[in-house]
Symmetry: C2
Amino acid sequence: MTGSPHHPIVHVEYPAWVDSVVDWERSYVSDQERMRLAIAVSRANVENATGGPFGAAIFEARSGHLVAVGMNSVVRLNNCTLHGETMAFMMAQQRVGSYTLNGPNMPAHELYTSCEPCAMCLGATLWSGVQRVVYGAAREDASLLHFEEGPVFPESYHYLEQRGIRIERNVLREEARAVLELYRAQSGKIYNA
Amino acid sequence: MTGSPHHPIVHVEYPAWVDSVVDWERSYVSDQERMRLAIAVSRANVENATGGPFGAAIFEARSGHLVAVGMNSVVRLNNCTLHGETMAFMMAQQRVGSYTLNGPNMPAHELYTSCEPCAMCLGATLWSGVQRVVYGAAREDASLLHFEEGPVFPESYHYLEQRGIRIERNVLREEARAVLELYRAQSGKIYNA
């Protein structure tokens, strides 16, 4: 089901391994537990060769209920917009049936992402309705692998913060960075054989 | 086909009216002809009440061959990432079977968008592989309707230009702006009745 040339149909689905990594039923209480899931998703994406070393997860802030995960799927699905964060937003919004996670009578939602968001994902964060962003590895860590983050400036974060979105940096940074290193090693194996 | 709660499936498809507005076979030669299509898509989206007043189109630069269009589908598809530009990128990449429009042996591609891109779409532009962006209405025009554009700064454009993406501003701005005005009038009718 990919449509006709003039009418492509884009499908976004998780890779088959998702249930082997994600426990959908448990409650994720602390920042560390939630970040550890985002990092586990990023690691599985590398180990299964389904995409870049980036994972994300969206939780209800208070209950710790997991709403959706996302993993970089750019190459797998031929879609430059499918970073871990954007995929998590799409999946969460599909699940709750709303284009915003900040709708009437909704609990507050938070994004956890294994690496600092790129310019596209930081913009999408503003439209998503999440009220807090927690990231693991930093822009500099990704740059070492020649992953570009695009036009993100200190003012970009100020812009989000002025609109009520809180930012939490470098949570489990070393664990997140280890997956970037794994990708570098594994890519060497896969692409330069 | 929306999947199970834990495994949502996101489908992105054009609304049914697309073929009544888009001639897929002709060649679009000038900037004006190409922009006029993006604006026609934005207008049809408003007139058919399928989304916000924003349309986009991607062409092969030299031949004027139309590769894909996109229209704001945020509310229609419950997906905050589906702006006109991001939808056009997804559809074009699905059609050519590549996550970049700047792959080996590909012709140069250009994005035409009825309104200045938001922060998310400007970031996605960098990942898309288009080599030129042409926009109609300006950020200030959208702001009048209380559409936010997010953290976009002059340095954001410099960042893209330094990476070889050319920006062309305010092409058919008045025609593009007229659709924003139409939306304002129509929304008044629909939502404030």
